[in-house]
């Protein structure tokens, strides 16, 4: 059983990865390494018809799924704390969608856990993106590269 401090949030409100970093860096005892990943809505310049993204999820399952993924990471590597926040609802270009932060005594553990969580989240956490376009709405297709990214942890 891992003793990592795990914090999960699924929310329509904006969040700040800078603030997440500050909290993780103030863990006790002081961690040697803090890694944060932030996924943002990319500039939609290459398709001017896209106005925003809409994030749907499966309430109840989403939180359980993220908790399970974070616990798996904490059982694979020596981790002090994990923070994970994912937005739902409407998001404009440049806005953060997801942030994962990991505090550990060691940098390799912090990097691995952070990447592992993102790779599993992309494949297993029940979120769906829809493009809101000037010419209608379009569900985003899943990517084969995300499936491959998850599989590299399973050897």
């Amino acid at each position: 059983m891992s003793h990592a401090n795990i914090s999960i949030a699924v929310q329509p409100e904006p969040f700040d990865t800078g603030e997440m970093y500050h909290q993780l860096s103030q863990c006790t005892p002081s961690p040697g390494a803090v890694v944060t990943f932030t996924g943002l809505v990319r500039d939609l310049d290459n398709d001017k018809n896209i106005i925003a993204l809409e994030l749907e999820h499966y309430p109840g399952m989403t939180e359980k799924s993220l908790q399970t993924i974070a616990q798996q990471a904490a059982s694979k590597w020596p981790i002090q704390a994990i923070s994970l926040v994912h937005r739902i609802g409407r998001l404009e270009a440049g806005h953060p969608i997801v942030a994962v932060g990991v505090a550990s005594a060691h940098r390799v553990a912090a990097f691995n856990a952070c990447e592992f969580i993102m790779d599993y989240l992309k494949n297993d956490a029940p979120f769906w993106k829809k493009e809101i376009r000037t010419d209608g709405e379009q569900w985003v297709a899943s990517k084969q590269s995300d499936v491959a990214a998850k599989h590299r942890w399973q050897d």
Partner: protein
């Protein structure tokens, strides 16, 4: 009662986000197909849903769908019991 949920593009295609399935109706449907009624699986649940909504057949057969039973992703066909929450959805695209 079995609660069946549909999400995202699948919900749009089916025109439904939720179906409440009476366990006796499901048992009768399965018995009428010559299968014992003590145990159900997700394939039988889909067949039952498509019998009630014939235009759903192509939606379920033409794409890769995920199934979650009681909010955990499982491999089809998986056993389903009275009281379960069963969700069908397309591959996830969060993060």
């Amino acid at each position: 009662m079995i609660t069946v949920l549909f999400f995202a593009s699948l919900r749009d295609q089916l025109g439904s986000d939720k179906q409440l399935i009476n366990i006796e109706s499901l048992a009768q449907f399965i018995a009428s197909n010559g299968t014992p009624t003590e145990a159900f699986n997700s394939d039988q649940l889909i067949a039952f849903l498509c019998q009630n909504n014939p235009n759903w057949q192509s939606v379920f057969s033409e794409q890769k769908l995920f199934i979650a039973v009681n909010q955990e992703i499982v491999q089809a066909p998986c056993p389903i019991a009275d009281g379960d929450e069963v969700a069908f959805f397309p591959p996830v695209t969060g993060g």
